[in-house]
Amino acid sequence: MNILVVDDSKAMRMIVMRTLRQAGYGDHTMVEAGNGVEALESIKAGPPDLILCDWNMPEMNGIELLKNLRGSGNEVPFGFVTSEGNPQMKNAATEAGALFMITKPFTVDAFKDALSTVVVC
């Protein structure tokens, strides 16, 4: 299974991937992108099975990426990993087609809980 991790912070991408491994998803292939534009290029090159995406990024933010994907008929499982987890944003994420929102800072258990319905370890 391919997991695409999208965040403009390289440090955060590393932490997300580390947390995925700690949560038991280390056997999956992890690919990185620094923003929504890079994510779209990566998706064209190799469709992921799951996208974990930050919200606030330059070039193209996470909600724009999600709307772009859903607008083109791409139903890839998509979840946000963001420092901004207020109810309004969660509603917007859900309406746009996100399956979950993990709030930074996060724990391994938060990843397990969010991904358990989406990905098999």
């Binding site: 403009d8 912070s9 390289k10 440090a11 932490i15 420092s83 987890g85 930074k104 800072p105």
Partner: protein
């Protein structure tokens, strides 16, 4: 906006949680920890908030601590200082603290991308703003200062 006492409690909780969850650090309150003096290199991670509330959240640490933060986040050797990684790590810490603080505000509010400033003897000003609160912490003798400033009449 909440009272200063409430904001103080929120920022203490948010900052401690961010450092503990992301770095495994148990930072302690430190009224005695002063601002970085003008002689030591230090770094500032900053995010701004606009919309229903306007202001900024800054995280100031010594360069020495910023290097340790980056090493902890990247899982790297702290003696190998990669400037881009140090700035990235501090910016992300500021982003998490600011983002969680933003979640306590009445929407609609937007969070900026983080900026990082580094050097010796500098100060950061947001024109037209007033300081709401500065909260001081300490980790292994190094100061950590989180400051909230507000701009405009919406505070």
């Amino acid at each position: 906006m909440n009272s200063v006492e409430t904001i103080d409690t929120q920022i203490v909780d948010i900052t401690r949680t961010v450092f503990e969850s992301m770095l495994g650090w148990n930072i302690t309150d430190s009224e005695a920890a002063g601002e970085a003096d003008g002689t030591e290199p230090h770094m500032t991670g900053l995010v701004t908030v606009t919309g229903n509330w306007e202001g900024a959240v800054s995280l100031v640490v010594s360069r020495k601590l910023a290097v340790q933060i980056a090493a902890a986040m990247f899982g790297s050797d702290p003696t190998c200082e990669v400037e881009e990684e140090i700035c990235d790590a501090l910016g992300e810490m500021a982003n998490m603290i600011g983002g969680n603080f933003k979640s306590t505000l009445e929407p609609p509010v937007q969070l900026s991308l983080p900026s990082v400033t580094k050097g010796v003897g500098y100060e950061t000003f947001i024109p037209g703003s007033t300081k709401i609160i500065s909260v001081h912490f300490e980790h292994e003798g190094e100061a950590i200062v989180v400051t909230i400033v507000s701009r405009g009449s919406s505070d």
